[in-house]
Symmetry: C3
Subunit: 261 residues, 3 copies
């Protein structure tokens, strides 16, 4: 599943810029299963990055959409019985077709039902698991988060784990990196986390190394956030400026400004 | 169902401006059955145009809302069993009350389940079918789109068909027009297509000729998009500027700037 | 349930500013059960005010989320069978835990199904009922609205009733106040009513007197709206400026500008 070429941080920045250029060119279809509160901003940020979103969660329809998609995001927000069934069907198709997919286990630290379901899904080995520290700790069965918890989870889940935060931490158990781009206003706008996960899926659609896809997508959304924050007057103006900034971003900007260490 | 008065393009522009003036004055209630990703921008653009949206999709409630509505939009995004049942109930009430309605068969070219359901709905003869070229081709059972495909579909469905694109094409089989207003940024913001269909339903609520309602609504959203694009810095700022621009538009603007040929 | 200290309008303004300061400091978790069209703006305004929203409506998950929440909003938009069951479960937990909650009976004046369900919920004695005049009249079984109808409803429901409008009217049957802050653009943006109810729940989470929570939240959203309207060019720019304005508001602004009479 992964190309385990040793890469320096400088290599990873070049790879991130390349992957972004390919995304703009190929315009991958990304099927997104997420909660309704995150849908509009996720769709708009995905389009701004160059992807083509679809978002149905109807179990009868999801297989058709995933079969046509280049990547899949499974976000656990709002887990009703229909959505669980849609997720199961989506992952069956993704497995058959070899479609890369990302898991975003929102709020597994709050609901035991979600946590149990997330453990089930982890057995299907997501290409990338993107979560905040509390969610990573809950999935690993730990009380608190430390980077080694993410490392262990990555090994157990045979996956790249991207832990979001003031700086993002990426690990697949043997490779590790921090992405230092970003802005605190991201946490003030609902749905930007899910949008980041959808962007990660778009990167996976065009770049075969999950570790690069995870760090590259994190750098891209982080740089867009830095640009948006420069002229934002608060979280309201930051939200639409983030869309404009992502739309305006070029691969050269990524090469110049990504802070992957 | 239609007033088949022969109209010149100049007549159609006058009629579009008149219809818009009536919409502003009467503030029609439009019930919108659509996917959750499109709901916020659809509601906000409908309000900006002068309409009053309602959006419940609960099968138990839809009949009450449609009975009070002046027009109905059925958008096939996210087709679960509940939504199908809501659509059936909505169309029963619309049929009994003579409520005009618009069908927006989103993504029927991707899902065979949706296509089959759309064919069922077409037998109920929507007043207007508003779709993109790929969807029109799929509904007509053709591999590719050409205007004659839309003409044939209009005759078969006893409906006005509005095909959206760089220029929109309207046909009811015997009458034909192109609406040349618009801006490419519309395609960069999720939900604007559904919002255009909801605006079409609002026009139908106040103007009894579906051909004029379809072309008039297309011109209005297109002119608003042209105004919004002038100061937009990307799709993020375009989205809210579109709402402001539609809100600021007057019937005189339509009379002066509509390009219906 | 209430502290029936006699308060002058000046006292209420001081209390509103205090409650807002506490909200900023404590960052209460508010679980919001609402319709999907209102979710994004409700979440973003709640975050801008200082709260932490969660929004799942899955019946299996709602109990876990409400158990962790400091307050609950039940908005009746989109009432399907799943949402009814989620509301029942949420209110069971809120009752057991003593979690304060707000009822927003959207559109009970249009759907008899909703009205019947709202009457059922009223027997659980919401801490605050926040509704427009038409909804208050429908709940009270009256054809038209007058303040005395709200007074009677408050006594029957053992609740504080906040009636939204050009000026908001608060009553618990024995205490009465008007909140004169606000701007007509609020009615031009979908979801701001639900967001106001969610903000009311956030105030309840940190302030034990429902009458002060209702009037304080109404003043805060009203002042934010006044600020946003100053530079808005229409409802599109007003929507994001409202988020920015609420985010920028300080307790001192409330003390200086609240018009509670």
């Amino acid at each position: 599943m992964m190309h385990e070429t040793p890469m320096t941080p400088a290599d990873m920045i070049v790879a991130a810029a390349d992957a972004f250029a390919t995304l703009r060119e190929r315009k991958p279809r990304v099927h997104v299963i997420t909660n309704s509160v995150a849908q509009p901003i996720t769709a708009n940020l995905l389009i701004a990055a160059g992807g083509i979103p679809s978002m149905t969660i109807s179990p009868e329809e999801v297989p058709d959409f995933v079969a046509r998609a280049d990547a899949l995001l499974v976000n656990l927000g709002t887990l009703d019985s229909e959505r669980r069934s849609a997720i199961g069907g989506a992952l069956d198709v993704a497995g058959d077709e070899g479609t890369p997919w990302v898991l975003d286990p929102v709020f597994v630290d709050i609901s035991s039902t979600r946590l149990a379901f997330a453990h089930e899904i982890l057995t299907r080995e997501p290409w990338i698991l993107r979560a905040n520290p509390g969610e990573v700790a809950a999935l690993a069965g730990e009380d608190g988060y430390e980077p080694v918890v993410a490392d262990r989870l990555a090994l157990e889940a045979v996956s790249t784990v991207l832990v979001t935060g003031a700086a993002d931490y990426a690990t697949n158990g043997s490779r590790h990196a921090r992405v230092e781009n970003g802005n605190p206003l991201l946490a003030q706008v609902t749905g930007t986390g899910c949008a980041g996960s959808a962007l990660t899926a778009a990167f996976l659609a065009v770049y075969n190394d999950p570790f690069v896809a995870a760090t590259g997508a994190a750098a891209v959304i982080g740089i867009a956030a830095e640009n948006a924050a420069q002229s934002a007057e608060g979280p309201g103006s930051f939200a639409w400026r983030l869309v404009d900034a992502l739309h305006a971003l070029s691969p050269a900007d990524i090469a110049r400004r990504a802070r992957i260490v």
